[in-house]
Amino acid sequence: MPKYLLLKHYRGGPEPHNPFPPMDQWAPEDVEAHFAFLRNVSKTLQESGEYIGVEALTPAQTWVRYGGPDAAPVTTDGPHPETSDLIAGWYMVDVESYERALEIAAHVSSEPGPGGGPLYEWIDVREIMSHGSSSD
């Protein structure tokens, strides 16, 4: 079965289908509904046997590279251009097919936003390469 990462972004990706304000500006009941929906996504994936993991990332980003011999690593922690990608977290799933991965991602994207309607958030779907040699 192929494995996929379903990535959520703080920013970046296609033009938002439905621009929305930061969550701390939503009505409290909308915040609750959103969190409850995402809890249920994890639970459903666990029950269907497709769940591998879910992780969230903090928005703080540091770029680092080798500084050369006898030099400290070179870092830059911003500011980064507002258009650059910033990953917020992911689901890792093990599914029957690419179509099933898209189906799960679309479900995640239907998460309720302000006012209770779907967020239509873009989800970045990436296949994880398998290890070892293929059998054929």
Binding site: M23, D24, A27, P28, R39, A56, T58, A60
Partner: protein, 400 residues
């Protein structure tokens, strides 16, 4: 050994024997890592054979089997190197050692200063707590192979080190607190690290009169008592002022207060005792409104007085004290206290969260919402992040 008659294997009793047998082996001069390996093999054999043939003296049995493994290992080593070594005639293990001494001795071994804090934690859980590699790995969310590697590297570090000097009790206490903190608020399905830390601290207080050991045990008990109220049925964080105090564990509170009093009676104060005293005052309040902030502030004054430069050396204590100042004087005074920490803690979520709380206390809800949102932005824990987003959304609409 309560189930001895039935022949049933009591895992708790077996685990309790681990530090005693291991301490005995190391005391008589065995290498720590070899002794630990041998004991693990003996435990596997015990799990296999005890259900059928329960030994009369389980501790002596484990010691004997582990010793045989050690001798075997050394024999094959000797043969391999074509070298003759005396491998026989081990002196018998003295049968009258105190349980507490063994625990303390082993904790000093596991908290050896040459080990990293992460290694000290894992080795203590394994050698003193008797947890399996799998259980420790699960508790820290790392693969079992990674944890196995960490344990064997730690044991290798101890190879050849002299383990007969008394160690630094302060390091042992810090390691126990790290174990506790890693478990406190963890998901309920995980191995109970907080409970394990309390168990180890309780053993430690049997072995030493040091009041800070009791202070640490009291602190853990008094905080752990509130755990059942800390999350609601959806896993959401419930702050102290909103917790259902009926859910607090009254027995743990009573034990914590008792242990704390016995520590304070020795009149050698330290930070764990002071923090436990503050926890006790929170636990003692029948409602949030009845919290004795005046006394709490007095204890925080003692806490920050323990370091020369509290802003740099103990900013967390200064920050917590600011909350007490906000309740005793007024929220603006508390906020002024937090201003002094801006350079040190301004990037941390807790600094913003405390300011959100103080702004809210002050009735300045827009400022509170901004501070909570800033805190959420910097949170490094999902439950805390979600909680801070909720706080921001709640005060933004003027909610209670």
């Amino acid at each position: 050994m309560s189930r001895e008659q039935t022949g049933h294997l009591d895992e708790g009793a077996l685990r309790a024997l681990v530090p005693r047998v291991l301490a005995g082996l190391v005391r008589r001069g065995e290498e720590f890592d070899a002794a630990e390996d041998a004991l693990q093999e003996a435990l596997i054999e015990a799990l296999r054979t005890w259900p059928e043939h329960r030994p009369d003296d389980p501790r002596a049995w484990l010691t004997a089997v582990a010793t045989r493994r050690l001798v075997d290992a050394r024999r094959s080593e000797a043969a391999r190197r074509r070298r003759e070594e005396a491998t026989e005639a081990e002196p018998p293990v003295p049968a009258t050692e105190e349980v507490g001494d063994d625990t303390l001795f082993l904790l000093f071994c596991c908290c050896h200063p040459d080990l990293t804090p992460a290694s000290q934690v894992t080795l203590s859980l394994r050698a003193v707590g008797g947890l399996t590699t799998r259980e420790i790995a699960d508790a820290f969310y790392v693969p079992e192979a990674t944890m196995a590697q960490r344990i064997s590297r730690a044991k290798r570090t101890l190879r050849g080190r002299r383990l007969d000097r008394p160690g630094d009790l302060a390091v042992v206490l810090r390691v126990l607190y790290l174990i506790y903190a890693a478990g406190h608020g963890g998901a309920p399905a995980r191995p109970d690290l907080a409970g394990e830390a309390i168990r180890l601290a309780r053993q430690l207080t049997l072995a030493t009169e040091e009041p800070e050991a009791r202070g640490l045990l009291a602190l853990m008990l008094l905080n752990h008592a509130r755990l059942p109220a800390r999350l609601d049925d959806q896993g959401r964080i419930v702050t102290l002022d909103r917790q259902d105090r009926g859910l607090w564990d009254a027995r743990k509170i009573a034990e914590g207060v008792r242990v704390l009093q016995s520590a304070l009676a020795m009149e050698r104060p330290g930070r764990y005792q002071v923090e436990a005293a503050i926890a006790a005052l929170h636990d003692d309040a029948a409602s949030a409104e009845e919290t004795d902030w005046l006394q709490i502030l007095a204890w925080y004054d003692d806490l920050v007085a323990l370091t020369d430069d509290p802003i740099r050396q103990d900013p967390a204590a200064v920050l917590s004290r600011a909350v007490a100042v906000g309740h005793v004087l007024d929220p603006a005074a508390g906020l002024r206290e937090t201003d002094r920490l801006r350079d040190v803690l301004g990037d941390r979520h807790r600094w913003h969260a405390v300011r959100g709380h103080l702004h809210e206390l002050d009735g300045d809800l827009p400022a509170a919402a901004l501070a909570y949102a800033e805190a959420a932005h910097r949170a490094t824990n999902v439950a805390e992040r979600d909680h801070l987003v909720r706080q921001a959304a709640r005060v933004r609409v003027g909610g209670e």
